[in-house]
């Protein structure tokens, strides 16, 4: 059975109710017992107190009745003594249980005996008999009178010690009633208190353990479960929290495994990149260098066509070198860690354009740079973004007489959006999605040179910053690249 709080509370209330019932019942029983004791006193002792003088008085009347009848020599008068005797017996009857049955029987016998003897003696006295026989009869009558007297005394005697005992028993019964009631109420109170105390102690202990456990879980330490073994609601809370912690720990372990796997594969990738960087470039150097050597040493012996072939060989090798570099930098963007800081993007853009101008001093390009634009980003990676976007703008405005490039930012809703705009070759919006895929080019190498990896690199960098990049363009009119660099999670756009 699960000992929930509810069942515990019900138990407490039950104990209290049981205690109340027990108290009431004991009260009733004990009070009844005391009342019974008192009733016994009432029926057995109180009637006796009155009985003795009444019986004596009645007997006196009987004796006097005989004496009166003898004195006036009235035989008829003797019959009244019979009524008096009947009344005497009636009174004895009325005393009931107060008189011991044997005593009552003895008294009845004695009074009848006396009545007979006294009647006989009285009649002989009225008849005027005298003599020895009569004196004997009178003596017999007197002894019978004494016998009645003693029987009355015996029957109606009030045993003082018995009465004291009865009163003591009644008092004892009443004090026992009080004692039992006291004991029961104290023990029930103790039981209720004990159960409540045990409950509150177990609850407090469970709560302390739960608090500590939740604190541990809060710090990400899921190894030690919460040790609440009670089978109440708190125990259930603990069990659920433990299950949750076990799940979290499992997913932690899984994540660690995945991270380890990722680290390993990153390491492999790094080794691969390293090998690509060194081993793929060496033969290209050979191809390019030796074709140059060939050209230098034997160029004068070759015709134009052969020289063109040699140039193409050298250019092809060089182009492949550039491609390898671009691929390596794309791979590096994914591998390296982000080190965000506040970057003056305007200054960075200015530096990139300055570099572009130095590389092609003969180009005339108007660059509109919005000053003081800042971002919270990795400076090296952000530089790569600008090098690619501004480099593209520079490249694709190559055929414009008045090339214009602009960098700045604008608000879209509440999101800060950076843009690089040019009035160059532009692109067909139908291919806008393809722009950012690696090796996707919308122009031939004859039109514009490029690796097809630049925008893929840019997109990865923006991705890693939690941002988004998109482009608008019109063929022959120019292109605008917009990107976001959320500084924190709350202004990240989906």
């Amino acid at each position: 059975m699960r000992l929930t709080f509810r069942t515990t509370l019900i138990a407490i209330v039950g104990i209290a109710a049981f205690a109340f019932l027990l108290l009431t019942a004991t009260g009733v029983v004990l009070t009844k017992r005391a009342a019974l004791q008192l009733a016994t006193i009432q029926t057995r002792y109180i009637p006796k107190v009155e009985l003795e003088p009444q019986l004596n008085a009645q007997f006196d009347r009987i004796v006097r009745g005989f004496q009166d009848a003898v004195a006036i020599r009235d035989v008829e008068g003797l019959s009244t003594t019979n009524e008096l005797k009947q009344r005497f017996l009636g009174e004895l009857e009325a005393a009931g249980a107060a008189v011991d049955a044997a005593d009552a029987e003895a008294l009845r016998f004695a009074i009848e005996d006396y009545q007979t003897t006294a009647g006989d003696v009285s009649r002989r006295l009225i008849a005027g008999e005298t003599g020895e026989a009569l004196v004997d009869a009178l003596t017999t009558m007197q002894s019978k009178q004494a016998r009645v007297q003693s029987c009355i005394n015996k029957a109606a005697a009030l045993d003082r010690s018995e009465l004291t005992h009865a009163f003591a028993a009644a008092a004892y019964a009443q004090s026992m009633a009080r004692l039992y009631q006291g004991l029961i109420s104290i023990s029930c109170l103790a039981a209720v208190l004990t159960v409540s105390l045990l409950l509150s102690r177990s609850v407090l202990r469970s709560m302390a353990e739960l608090t500590q456990g939740f604190e541990r879980f809060g710090h990400g330490d899921f190894r030690q479960p919460i040790l609440v073994k009670t089978r109440d609601e708190l125990g259930e809370v603990a069990a659920r929290a433990n299950a949750m912690a076990a799940n979290l720990e499992r997913s932690d372990r899984e994540r660690e495994r995945a991270e380890t796997a990722l680290r390993l594969s990153n390491k492999e990738l790094e080794a691969f990149s390293y090998s690509v960087a060194h081993d793929l470039r060496a033969p290209l150097r050979g191809i390019n260098g030796l074709s140059k050597v060939l050209m230098e040493d034997y160029g004068d012996r070759l015709n134009d066509e052969a020289r063109d072939y040699l140039d193409r060989i050298a250019a092809g090798a060089q182009r492949m070198g550039t491609l390898i570099d671009a691929l390596l930098s794309l791979a590096r963007v994914t591998r390296t860690e982000l080190h965000r800081e506040t970057v003056d993007v305007s200054r960075l853009a200015e530096a990139v354009v300055h570099q572009l101008r130095q590389n092609q001093p003969d180009r005339v390009v108007e660059f509109v740079n919005e000053p003081g634009v800042e971002a919270h980003a990795d400076p090296a990676l952000l530089r790569a973004v600008l090098e690619n976007l501004l480099g593209n703008a520079w490249k694709f405005t190559g055929k414009r007489e008045r090339a214009q490039i602009a960098f700045g930012w604008e608000l879209m809703g509440s999101v800060q959006v950076y843009y690089v705009r040019d009035n160059g070759a532009g692109f067909d919006m139908a291919y806008a999605e393809k722009l950012f895929a690696p090796f996707q080019r919308l122009h031939t190498t004859v039109e514009f040179v490029g690796t097809g990896v630049g925008l893929a690199t840019v997109q990865r960098i923006v991705d890693r910053h939690g941002g988004r990049i998109w482009a608008d363009g019109v063929v022959g009119e120019g292109a605008t690249f917009r990107f976001t660099l959320p500084s924190s999670a709350e202004d990240r756009i989906s």
Partner: protein, 150 residues
């Protein structure tokens, strides 16, 4: 210009040829000793193995050291050069295909005097060697102190 030899540590025959040509084109006419791997380079420097008995007091003017070498790699060669009293002041220029930051940092931290990336484009390569030649063979004629490259 001194007559001390240049030690070129290079396993790739094409790179060797191109490097020699680039040196020649830059009028660097010092004798060039070519070691094909790290072991050969160390043998030459310390007069062991195939170079047993060589007068090791004649140290090269400069060591042009490739990083990807058979047997003992370039970085290990550099570490041993810097660990030995006789060669710790020797000028070492790391010549390599990669521009991986890791290589550059490790080369400098092991005491390389300079780091030159071998470009695919031959003309750039000649230019790089020219810069090297001017710097190490003309401006620092005497045994150069161990210092980082400018």
């Amino acid at each position: 210009m001194t007559n001390k030899p240049i030690l070129l540590v290079e396993d790739n025959r094409d790179d060797e040829l191109l490097t020699l040509r680039a040196l020649k084109k830059n009028n660097i006419l010092n004798e060039v000793v070519v070691a094909r791997d790290g072991v050969e380079a160390l043998d030459y420097l310390f007069g062991t193995g195939a170079y047993a008995g060589r007068d090791t007091s004649i140290l090269p003017q400069v060591v042009l050291l490739d990083l990807n070498l058979p047997r003992i790699g370039g970085l290990d060669v550099l570490r041993r050069i810097r660990a030995d009293e006789r060669t710790k002041l020797l000028a070492v220029v790391v010549l390599t295909s990669s521009k991986e930051e890791e290589d550059i940092i490790r080369s400098y931290s092991l005491g390389a005097n300079s780091f030159v990336r071998k470009p695919v484009e031959f003309d750039e390569f000649i230019e790089a060697v020219r810069t090297l030649g001017l710097f190490w063979l003309l401006l620092h004629e005497s045994a150069p102190p161990v210092r980082k490259a400018p």
